[in-house]
């Protein structure tokens, strides 16, 4: 174990001294945030669209009520009184920008249709927003018909068909998602944090790949093995790159947390520092060890990165397997696909993190089964990786075929 720690320390030190690694470690979050900023630049132009000026010839006396409604609903509309007639305005308005004209009079109220004249370049959402102002007009119409307030309220409430939840948890999940935004964030924040941990250590775990095959390329393995056992060397690498993943994580958070605090209007730490976080971190760490065992074993079978065979290439793709599950899991976090995803070792960490941050009540039995599967597969893969590593690391200059690997495993 002591020797493993020496190897771990060395692997960390040597990578941290390596310029390309350091550039990578800082560039990733910078790029990430950079793309998010670009995204929000485009998104932002929609949110801050110019307010449409609406000139209202109000002969019904509802302008104040309309103004109130517009304010409550946060519409992008500024109402202004005018006494110009429709005939005059319909011509004048063509020369104006982002402006509309509405005539509110008894005849229109009776017919239920208020003609709107707009300038050419009016905001595309304007007509939709304007529809919201029909409610106070409707109320006025009903009052004129001489209905009591209760009657008015009853009528203006309207009727809808509502889907009753049959599958309890599924319904809950969706309702939570749509209705209480705050609660969702509360769960997503720690889940996302776990996801970031998983992602950054899985990425650095991919360096293990390189590191193990580099060992062969540099022909340094035999020198190492005169001081260490292959097991110690392998463990050292796994621990070392775990440490590097943590460094990557810290760098990521150093960029990410201030950015999130500045960009999202939520009490981030309050949401983050909850007991659930521990489980998320545990899942992420388990995920790392699984992939690390896989990578270190497969890395030892490759002469170098560029000559990876089909078999090795396939294994490299495994960490991206959970992405296939994102769609089905998001649409139904308790569905069959989601359950299968949590029971397959290679997708379990990703799918579990995703499910747990979406579900209101946690399916503890499933979580425990999934974790047990993970732990057992880590144990198995570590054993296998050890066997492959021991032989593979000394096989200089060529890739091992799956047949050979099978032979080493059985040896």
């Amino acid at each position: 174990m002591r020797n493993s720690l020496k190897v771990a320390k060395w692997e960390m030190k040597r990578n941290l001294k390596n310029k390309s690694f350091m550039i990578g470690i800082f560039l990733t979050p910078v790029l990430f945030i950079g793309f998010m900023l670009i995204g929000s630049l485009f998104g932002g132009s929609e949110g801050e669209e110019a307010v449409t000026r609406v000139l209202v010839n109000d002969q019904l006396g509802v302008l104040d009520t309309l103004n109130e409604t517009a304010e409550v609903l946060d519409l992008n509309i500024a109402l202004e009184a005018t006494d110009k007639s429709a005939a005059v305005m319909s011509e004048e308005i063509e020369g104006m920008e982002n402006t509309a004209y509405v005539m509110l009079d008894d005849s229109a109220l009776e017919s239920g249709v208020f003609p709107v004249y707009t300038s050419d370049d009016v905001n595309s959402y304007f007509m939709n927003q304007l529809q919201a102002l029909t409610t106070p007009l409707k109320t006025l119409q009903l009052q004129q018909l001489g209905l009591t307030e209760e009657e008015t309220a009853a009528i203006s409430q309207g009727l809808i068909f509502e889907e009753a939840a049959v599958s309890e948890s599924a319904g809950e999940g969706e309702q939570e998602g749509t209705f209480s935004n705050e609660d969702t964030l509360k769960r997503i924040v720690p889940g996302a944090f776990g996801g970031i941990i998983l992602l950054s250590i899985v990425f650095s775990g991919m360096y293990i790949f390189q590191s193990a095959s580099q060992e062969k390329k540099d022909k340094v393995a035999e020198i190492m093995l005169s001081s260490l056992t292959p097991g110690e060397l392998m463990q050292g690498k796994i621990i070392g790159y775990f440490g590097l993943g943590m460094v990557q994580l810290v760098v990521f958070l150093a960029f990410g947390i201030p950015f999130a605090l500045w960009n999202l209007d939520i009490p981030l730490f309050e949401y983050l520092l909850v007991p659930e976080l521990l489980l998320y971190i545990a899942i992420a760490v388990l995920g790392y060890f699984l992939y690390a065992a896989l990578f270190v074993g497969v890395g030892a079978t490759m002469a170098d990165m560029s000559s990876a065979g089909n078999f090795q290439g396939l294994v490299m793709m495994l960490p991206f397997l959970p992405f296939l599950f994102i769609g089905p899991v998001v649409s139904d976090p308790s569905g069959l696909t989601a359950q299968i995803g949590s029971y397959v070792p290679f997708t379990a960490p990703g799918v579990l993190l995703l499910r747990l941050s979406m579900l209101d009540t946690w399916p503890w039995v499933e979580i425990i089964i999934s974790l047990v599967i993970l732990v057992i597969s880590i144990w198995i893969f570590m054993k296998l990786a050890g066997k492959i590593f021991k032989t593979g690391i000394l096989m200089y200059g060529k890739n091992a075929t799956p047949q050979e690997i099978w032979k080493w495993i059985r040896a």
Partner: protein, 308 residues
């Protein structure tokens, strides 16, 4: 002399081929023991079995009487060797010393001293990939001895070195042995082995061919040979006394003589009419013995049998 390493009846097979067949030898403290053999004879396999990088099918390897490999007391320069490419010379030397539990401060001093000795002064901050092949070899050599090992295994230490560096390595290896280090050296360069080693173990196709003290081996196997340059008939030469075998090529005739001849009196047997442009008498070198064995001429065996 105290025995450091004892290899007993080592056997190893890959698939169905026996690579090592009953290999036994010892390495004593303070001596340089050579393990020789043509390519594929089983030298590196033997060494890997000693280092615990491979496990023998049968046989024992003991260090100072114990089966446990004292990794910290062993220095190893493998045949297939290299160092991490993108790291600094001093960093890798200190890391390797640390793995051997050698005190860092002392390691740093020794590293600097050796770098200076090998003409690499001021290179401690250079990365390995900037070094030439020869420099890289020197660093690897330093790495194998930085922790003052009691037992040093050098697998082809001279390959790829220029004569000056070879001389440097040779001297350093001799000094280490003089200070009591047990050294197991594998090499193809027979002249170097002949000069340096106290004992040798010649292996061919996984089997022991010769094992003993260098001087004894020379005494026993290295008979005299007489080389004559000039136009001569083969029959004339074959008729001479104490000649085991004659080789003739162009105008050069080599006569391999039996053991225990008196050189001066044998020379008197040369007939007057032979054509001598040049004449030399010397012992068969280790190089010739080696080639002889590697090419299965079995001259030595015949020689030894006739001698017996």
């Amino acid at each position: 002399m105290e025995v450091f390493l004892k290899v007993g009846h080592l056997k190893k097979s890959f698939k169905n081929t026996e690579i090592l067949k009953d290999i036994s030898f010892e390495v004593n403290k303070g001596e340089i023991m050579a393990i020789l053999g043509p390519n594929g004879a089983g030298k590196s396999t033997t060494i890997r079995n000693i280092m615990g990088i491979m496990y023998p099918d049968d046989g024992t390897v003991t260090f100072l009487g114990s089966k446990q490999i004292p990794r910290n007391k062993i220095g190893y320069l493998p045949e297939e060797r290299g160092l991490y490419q993108n790291v600094q010379v001093m960093d890798i030397l200190l890391y390797l010393a640390e793995l051997k539990d050698y005190p860092i401060k002392k390691a740093r001093e020794r590293a600097l001293a050796y770098l200076k000795k090998f003409g690499l002064e001021g290179k401690e901050k250079t990365t390995i990939d900037e070094l030439s092949k020869g420099m890289g070899q020197k660093v690897q050599f330093i790495a194998s001895i930085i922790h003052e090992p009691e037992f040093l295994i050098l697998d082809e230490p001279f390959s790829g070195l220029d004569p000056v560096s070879q001389e440097l390595f040779k001297q350093e290896i001799r000094d280490l042995a003089a200070n009591g280090t047990a050294i197991l050296l594998s090499s193809h360069q027979m002249n170097l082995v002949e000069e340096m080693c106290d004992r040798l173990f010649l292996i061919h196709r996984g089997q022991k061919v010769i094992y003993g003290k260098m001087d004894d081996v020379k005494q026993e196997y290295a008979n005299f040979k007489c080389t004559i340059k000039g136009e001569n008939r083969l029959e004339d030469m074959e008729g001479l006394p104490d000649v085991q075998r004659v080789e003739q090529r162009d105008d050069t005739t080599i006569m391999y003589l039996t053991k225990d001849i008196q050189v001066a009196s044998w020379l008197k047997n040369l007939p007057d009419h032979i054509d001598v442009k040049e004449l030399s008498i010397d012992r068969i070198s280790l190089h010739e013995i080696f080639i002889d064995i590697a090419t299965d001429k079995n001259m030595l065996k015949e020689g030894a049998e006739t001698n017996a």
